[in-house]
Subunit: 400 residues, 2 copies
């Protein structure tokens, strides 16, 4: 697959979202506007609702919200959390802590199941919290922690546990959907939130939220609901293929096109492509002696977080990568700011992006006197060869 | 001014938003994406923050939110309303009732100052409510009621009253900004909410919210704040020209371009253009015997709401206007559904749009056997002549 970027692009974005948006998706936004109370919109929205179900692999509903990922998280929690109620909040990084904070804002009482950043809590810890707080109705967790590059791989087990205890499982999968496996129904996830600007390679501005019947029932019992983010209103209006409030029509056009592209590739293939690209980064960094924050099976398919090497200024490295190579890399998030850098390997990433990024990182680190464990040129060549091999099995895509 | 529409447009949108977006604004969305934590975004956002202050005529802050107008209203109220507190809610249509409903959802206790739809409460009614509820801190009102075409023309007086009683005045000006006079500071408005997709002629998906120091102080005292819509977080991040959460970058590009276009025209001129177009509609409808919902000085510059004539199916008229003339007109809202139609005369409206719309309405009504009080051809000719004369004094615009 060759990457084709829109006119005028100078930099490639390897930040944790927004990601590089293919030309055909960008161009879709320029279609003339339509009334969101007319037949043209109902056709578009109806198709989006059906297609999003396929991406989430759910028989429940999935709504695109005019809001970014955090708005989607607020929607999920605002519909479900009642003042005073205990909520099991599983967290191990900045975005998990944000979910916890949103619970607090809504008047909920978080029961924290936490670990150090870069690690992840065990299922046993969740069980203990549930045992000690039988009145808790909700469990919240971030699937793929964008601050540390940790993907929590026990979601299937957590889903079974939640279902067996009759709890509602709310998953922030903003940076995971279409980059990590996520069969929402099979894994017993009741509410799942994703973003448009990550692995779907759509522009930022939309959040996607899935809701099943169990979640609808739970939120109906909750009197303290939001207005703009009211999921029952979304359900009511979706019956006639409309949104309760004015939608960001150009972004809906873009999402429609991005989903077409996703189906042309195939959801499984897209996840494989993300895994292959991430694998290339991990192998390259391991071999030259750069330490990633997440280890082993916790390593994310979509976000590679790396400790700044001793005596190397990571922010300076990022500046050099951007100015010298046009590669924009993310800085550390939250308390890892100034201590790490983050590569968002999401959306339309392929050989070109991985190669350019590795070259940019290695060349910049050379100038900053990083002492490479293995010769970077050889590592790059071998990693590129393997990635090329892996990608050869995947479909070629039409991006423009 | 000649209207130039983007490629492929078939219909002109005369609904209460979204409005017709000029080609140059649509095209701005196709610029390559940028990281919202990088210098390119900070330059864009810094410019937006400054330019929005000019449009709101305020020394306070104005934030573009990734959400539509109702999201902006929820932001305003969610930051300010504490559970149990009385809130003076002035309402006279669907959108005012929505503000009231949002207050209820947030746990506030609305003190209703209401009138029949199509009319408007008096300032005296507000005073009485304030006298009876001295502990109320907030007054909410919709400036331009999109469901009835009523513009509440006593905002300056209401602002003085609110300030003299030390109340916080929250105004929903979603369909008014840049179409009706709205000097936020001069009128003592503490929080003002607008939308991107109305008179600014930008695509839908952004809400704009102004906040002054009095409002910041009031919301700091409120413990029950939202997360995604947290105005203090917006203020904190704005110091370094960033948004707290991922913004809808393509819509920010579009807004930037739409504001440039607004400044080329001049805010005063844009309001004059809206007034002239609305005047043409009102004169034409009065003369042929179509009854508008709002009367006299309550008539809005941007939304013309009309009762369906006796024995005429307004929805059928709208269908004919769309199919025969490519003119999309809005239906009645809320309890006026099936009883009225609504023309959104906002954004890039000019002679062409007004003429086409009037022609579409008149020709369709002819086929539906409406009995015209005055000959529609003559009315059309004279109204067009006057509008042309009025528009001649206004600047020509570059729309593509």
């Amino acid at each position: 697959m060759d990457a084709v970027y829109p006119m005028g692009r100078e930099n490639i974005l390897m930040v944790p979202g927004p990601t590089n948006v293919p030309e055909r998706v960008l161009k879709a936004m320029v279609r003339p506007l339509i009334s969101h109370r007319g037949p043209e919109f109902r056709e578009l929205y109806g198709r989006l609702l059906e297609n999003l179900k396929k991406v989430f692999q759910t028989g429940g509903d999935v709504y695109p919200l005019t809001a970014s990922g955090t708005g989607g998280v607020e929607c999920a929690l605002g519909n479900l959390v009642s003042p005073g109620e205990p909520v099991i909040t599983v967290h191990f990084g900045l975005f998990g802590e944000r979910m916890r904070e949103a619970v607090v804002r809504l008047g909920g009482r978080p029961v924290e199941v936490a670990s150090e950043w870069g690690e992840a809590p065990s299922l046993e810890q969740v069980k203990e919290a549930l045992d000690l707080n039988p009145e808790a109705r909700l469990i919240t967790i971030v699937y793929n922690e964008t601050s540390t590059g940790v993907a929590w791989r026990m979601l299937p087990e957590l889903g079974r546990l939640a279902r067996s205890r009759d709890k509602i499982l709310v998953v922030d999968a903003v940076s995971a959907l279409a980059g990590e496996p996520l069969p929402v129904d099979q894994w017993n996830i009741d509410v799942c939130v994703a973003g448009s600007q990550k692995c779907l390679a759509c522009p930022p501005g939309l959040s996607l939220i899935s809701v099943n019947e169990r979640a609808y029932q739970a939120l109906r019992e909750n009197k303290h609901r939001l207005f703009y983010f009211d999921l029952e209103a979304h359900r009511r209006f979706a019956e006639r293929k409309e949104t309760p409030f004015t939608p960001a029509v150009p972004l809906f056009y873009a999402l429609d096109e991005a989903l077409q592209l996703l189906f042309e590739e195939g959801l499984e293939n897209r996840i494989k492509r993300h895994a292959a690209c991430a694998q290339a980064f991990y192998e390259a960094f391991d071999r030259v002696g750069l330490e990633t924050i997440s280890k082993g099976s916790l390593r994310s398919n979509t976000l590679i977080a790396v400790w700044n090497p001793p005596r190397v200024d990571g922010d300076e490295m990022r500046r050099m990568a951007k100015e010298g190579f046009g590669v924009v890399i993310g800085g550390g998030a939250g308390k890892l700011k100034g201590k790490s850098f983050r590569i968002g390997s999401m959306g339309m990433v392929s050989l070109r992006e991985v190669s350019l990024t590795l070259r940019a990182v290695f060349e910049s680190l050379k100038k900053l006197n990083f002492s490479f464990k293995e010769k970077p040129e050889r590592v790059l060549e071998e990693v590129e060869g393997k990635l090329e091999e892996a990608l050869r099995k995947l479909p070629k895509l039409r991006l423009s």
